[in-house]
């Protein structure tokens, strides 16, 4: 306010009020039905909130970046035709470089040609790191999609029907929970042998139980709502009550858990890899890469420790999982605040 404060007696100075602005603003009577009928769904509002959350956006950017880099690291061809011709990685991740170029050795430190150095077999670490995302990230997402869908159906059926159905279904879940997550996955992989789909299967078999339990709890809560009663009173079939009324309203916590779970699965895959149970030795999966350079943590081949061989793969795992957790927290905040926001918006 540039106006001088008047010291005249009997005058009230109102700060922050500008008569001109009030006179010039659009009259309320111009407001028509069209100008105000934009409706925002819960998800739109959740997204708005998510967008304002800087941490979550950074997480999303990191995950998107790592995923894109993994996709474009080497060409992808499906049944002979190349669907993705780009190749960001300077070398073939499986190529043993000293066979082609004798100047490159085992455990070369980072240099201008090998940005992250080479590993125990003289392979380019940078290329392997980019390529390795394909295994870790895709296993993470595939496992979460499988476990979340199966767990949702299982938990919804269990919670909705209740009684003995619920009792038996939940005792099965308890049985799965009785085994530690990683140990059970390890046992399954040990039985089936390592490999991509074996890992997916192992983590899916142990992972669905937590979704089932979560969704069951949500369903128990949601099914007491009057709109579920109303749908039943209208004669809606069980299937439509579950999938139109109950599951959509039980979704927010599921999304949060699922996004956090991607990170858990990636860590689990890396951990199995580190124990030598994941992908076949030599494949460029992050955990397996760590496993192969494990002994160098104490002493490298020539007495020095080649830190790059363990730090970079470890960093990749750390960054991805951290970013996934940031996204998960962001979703949690967006949908949570959303809940309270919706409550305040109501009112008769």
């Amino acid at each position: 306010m540039t106006r001088k404060i008047s010291a005249e007696r009997g005058r009230i100075q109102i700060s922050g009020f500008d008569a001109e602005k009030v006179e010039q603003r659009e009259p309320l009577s111009d407001w028509t039905e069209e100008s105000g009928d934009e409706t925002q769904t819960r998800w739109q509002r959740g997204w708005e909130r998510f967008k304002r959350n800087r941490t979550a956006l950074i997480g999303l950017a990191v995950v998107a970046f790592l995923s894109l880099v993994a996709i474009f690291a080497r060409p992808i061809s499906v049944m002979g035709t190349t669907v993705q011709p780009f190749s960001l990685a300077p070398y073939d991740p499986a190529a043993i470089l000293y066979l082609q170029d004798p100047s490159i050795g085992v455990y070369d430190p980072p240099s201008s040609t090998n940005w992250m150095g080479t590993d125990a077999s003289g392979r380019d670490l940078f290329s392997r790191l980019l390529y390795g995302g394909r295994y870790s990230i895709s296993i993470g997402f595939i496992v979460v999609v499988i476990t979340a869908s199966f767990g949702t159906i299982y938990g919804a059926v269990s919670g909705y029907y209740g009684g003995w159905t619920d009792e038996i279904m939940m005792r099965i879940v308890d049985t799965i929970f009785a085994f530690p997550f990683l140990v059970m996955a390890l046992v399954i992989v040990a039985m089936l042998g390592g490999g991509y789909w074996q890992l997916v299967l192992a983590f899916s078999l142990v992972g669905w139980a937590s979704y089932a339990r979560l969704i069951r709890g949500e369903v128990l809560k949601v099914k007491e709502n009057e709109y579920v009663m109303a749908a039943k009173a209208l004669g809606a079939r069980d299937k439509s009550v579950i999938f139109r009324h109950i599951v959509p309203n039980a979704m927010p916590p599921l999304l949060v858990v699922a996004s956090l779970n991607v990170g858990t699965v990636v860590i689990g895959v890396a951990a199995l890899g580190f124990l030598g149970f994941g992908m076949p030795p030599g494949s460029a999966e992050w955990g397996t890469m760590l496993d192969q350079t494990r002994e160098t943590l104490i002493q490298g081949p020539d007495g020095t420790i080649p830190w790059w061989a363990t730090v970079f793969p470890g960093m990749a795992i750390f960054m991805f999982v951290m970013a996934m957790n940031m996204i998960g927290d962001g979703i949690n905040d967006a949908l949570d605040a959303q809940e309270t926001g919706a409550g305040q918006q109501g009112g008769a």
């Binding site: 409706t39 009684g163 109303a230 039943k232």
Partner: protein, 349 residues
Amino acid sequence: MSDAESPDGADENPLLRVEGLQKHFQVDEGLISSLLRATMGKEADYVHAVDGVSFELERGETLGLAGESGCGKTTTGMSLVKLHEPTDGRIEFRGMDLTESNDEELDEFRRNAQMIFQDPFESLNPRMTVYDTLAEPLRIHDIENETARIRRALEFAELQPPDQYFDQYPHELSGGQRQRVAIARALVLDPDFVVADEPVSMLDVSLRAGVLSLMERMTEEFNLSVVYISHDLSLLRHMCDRLAIMYMGEIVEKGATEDIIENPQHPYTRSLINAVPVPDPDVGRERVELAGEVGDAIDVPSGCRFHGRCSEYIGDICETESPSLERKAEFDDDREVACHLYDSCGERS
């Protein structure tokens, strides 16, 4: 109003006949507790939510169910639209026994019986637009002309212009508007029978009159039979032809609304009516205060369930013999009372 008004004239039966309706809920249903019970040879405990309710409802008639909270009004209402499977008793709709109906008959019943719930913030799915909410019953029952019917129902519920509400979500509407949407949802199938469970108790006082007059119009125009469930006797007096007063899962008095309000006979009814505030400081009246708490619905009191709180307690008979709901010699209206104070006229209900 109570005579056979049905257009097809085929029904001699009342629209709805409820006989000895009972709904008991098992208290402890878990695996462990049922195993424990089995090993220890104990019987399961039950909450006697509704314990032998009987009444009839003619076409176009409105019945009020009144009583304090926990007396089983809502459970009765839910059993009437088959949201609960009754433990015992019969519900006949147009002469068809609902407890033994097949899927097809049940479908038919669902199309004709609707429920309006207490809380409009709860009874609409927050993820569905008004249009989808109203379209759901039509889709369930394969009824054509979806949009036209929805438009008509919204117009009837005084949500004008209807098209403007199509894409709105419940949280964008006010409480009154939501309850109107809920009413429109009940009416979109053109039902014969509606259960309204405390339809306005969650609404702002300023909105109640509007919603109530809408419901009155709905009863009249659709020639609906309505069961109103409420603890608010002044509301029921306004809306209902007949009243039934419930206490601990049983009907203690039933009859024409005016008879009961003006001249209550059961001690419990009297104390209920006495509790209704009169907005006039000069109206003095004798207060009948209810002593004590509502009895235990699990371990039901013997004899008359009201005997522990009754101001007219007349002796052992109240504690040993359960009074039946019947016509009494003292009254010439068609009132039925369950109380030992009055002489039975020999004709059981």
